[in-house]
């Protein structure tokens, strides 16, 4: 099953099981079904609770918060995650704050979906990975879509938290298959964490790469080439919740060489937060600092040949791992 279908099914399931659930966003109604077709069929089945909005990212996020405030479950789609910038105040200063600012915990069941990332030639304002800019907001949790995490379960987990969540969906995943990894790899789940190893590699992996869902196929590609070309065995760890990160679940799977791979451009990345948490726990066990793999410090160009130079890809990860191990 494709990731997009799994996500669409998750929204169908949510609207079906939770009669207080609303889905809102721009151009999400049938027959169009959303810019990326993730909301296909929803408005036909649940016309009352699937709401197409004007082009008002700030307001539609505020409306979602209002629905949540009144006890509903609200899922808002931002057509391109880049435009969540227009909802920054609603998320930071209203939705996130309201959970605790009034002295008592005020649970809000609310998810803002952000189709994220580049690789499709959409250009600088339609290709960003803005996760890092939302890290560390009290009352706001960050999740990322992954082919190893069933979206229905992820939505349940987000809503369980009772605080606003931003859900980042790397667009390149939509057309990929859920779960499936090729026979070279073995994927298992340890709670929230997806752990992928080289099948019967025998010994402990030479290094561990922590990455959000959107990077999975690029990391797997690098793991393959590292194994084939360099006989380096790497392990991939994919958490569903990026922030706050449950570092304890990571520890048992880590060795003395750790990298974090993400698509964000350089500077203040999610990885630097992960590295900080790990250094505090693993300092003596690590051979060197946690290495951060990310895109260049640059806008994301439109032309494919330029975009490729900027975005972190398979080879970026391959080289980073080799450098981490062989210097």
């Amino acid at each position: 099953m494709r990731v997009a279908e799994n996500l669409n099914a998750a929204l169908h399931g949510l609207l079906n099981d939770d009669h207080t659930a609303y889905v809102l966003g721009e151009d999400i109604l049938d027959p169009y079904g959303g810019a990326f077709k993730i909301t296909k069929g929803l408005s036909t089945r649940f016309p009352e609770r699937v709401i197409g909005t004007p082009i008002s990212e700030g307001a539609l996020t505020g409306v979602a918060a209002g629905l949540a405030l009144a006890g509903n479950t609200a899922v808002a789609e931002i057509m391109f995650g880049d435009f969540v910038a227009l909802a920054f105040d609603q998320l930071c200063n209203f939705a996130g704050k309201s959970v605790s600012m009034y002295g008592r915990r005020l649970p809000l069941r609310m998810v803002v979906r952000c189709p994220t990332g580049g690789g499709r030639g959409y250009g600088p304002t339609h290709s960003q990975s803005l996760q890092k800019h939302f890290v560390g907001m009290p009352g706001l949790s960050l999740y990322e879509m992954s082919p190893f995490h069933d979206n229905r379960a992820v939505f349940a987990a987000m809503l369980e938290r009772g605080e606003p969540c931003v859900f980042f969906e790397d667009k390149v995943l939509y057309t990929r298959q859920m779960e499936r990894v090729d026979p070279l790899f073995l994927m298992r789940r340890d709670g929230d964490l997806a752990v992928v190893d080289i099948r019967d590699a025998g010994h402990r992996p030479d290094c561990v790469v922590i990455a959000p869902g959107g990077m999975v196929h690029r990391v797997l590609g690098a793991m393959r080439s590292l194994m084939m070309e360099e006989e380096i065995s790497a392990r991939l760890l994919v958490p569903s919740r990026l922030y706050p990160l449950d570092v304890d679940t990571l520890l048992p799977h880590l060795g003395d060489v750790v990298l974090v791979a993400e698509e964000s451009t350089a500077g203040g990345t999610w990885g630097s937060e992960v590295a900080h948490l790990l250094h505090a726990r693993l300092w003596d066990r690590l051979r060197g600092p946690v290495r951060l793999v990310h895109s260049r410090d640059s806008v994301i160009p439109t032309a494919a040949h330029l975009e490729n130079e900027v975005l972190a890809g398979e080879s970026t990860i391959h080289h980073a791992v080799r450098e981490a191990l062989r210097g």
């Binding site: 505020g62 209002g66 629905l67 209203f94 009034y102 002295g103 008592r104």
Partner: protein, 307 residues
Amino acid sequence: MTEILDGLRLSRLADDDLELLLLVRHFELKLLELYGRGDLNGTTHTCLGQEYVPVALRSLLGPADHVFSNHRGHGHYLSRFRDPHGLLAEIMGREGAVCGGVGGSQHIHRDRYMSTGVQGESMPVAAGVALHLKRSEPGTLACVHIGDGTWGEGAVYEALNLAALWRLPLLVVVENNGIAQSTPTASQMAGTVAGRAAAFGIAHRLVVSTDVNEIRLSLEREIARVREGQPLVVEFVTHRLGPHSKGDDIRPADVVQAARENDWYARYAHDHPEHFHRLDGVVKAEVEAVADEVAARPLSRWEGSCV
């Protein structure tokens, strides 16, 4: 659909309305006194001169209606809950504070009442609540208080557009006191509030009266329509008697003078001396007592704080 009301002589108020008006007045005066004495930290925005707005609306709103207040919200809160202890405790960070002292003057949440300190932010949120009410609790509404200056924020227009498109039970109460902090309305708003409402096909009602009874009569029908899904902007032409927050009043003397002349307090005292004097002292004393009692309380504790 704009009509101008006028009241030369204020009509006689019911005791509880006058008491409430006086409670808000003396509460705010007490706050300025406490700040002046340095007994309070942070900042506050008093609604001196505008007390009659929430008092007039009180009987037109029910407990199932949501109220979104703003930075100038003490009158809104007291009109809904008549709870000077909880509010003062919140502002002073004492035991019994409505929000444990976390929110303070500008950030208060209780039942279906909520205020926050970012201008315009609550308009889309209120639209969301109104959407819920329309679907799940027909007949109820969401009321948002904003000032004239808040019309500078784009969020206001995004929300008005939704309210009109979705026929939401949204009541926008604009307290147009002619100024935003230090900026006269004319220097920050092109056109009129009426025009802004009309732009979205939203009904607008102008209220120049400060007569609580008169105001209620004049709004009854329109507010009933809001409950049927016809959003409404009610614009009160009002006056800010005090400073924006504390001691930052740089308005020319004549402007302040105009505010004084429009003050319901002096006018009611003049129009109904006996009624006024029978209650004024009593309420003032009540507020004194509240202040002394609350000031003597231990500091507030933050239940369920993550710290």
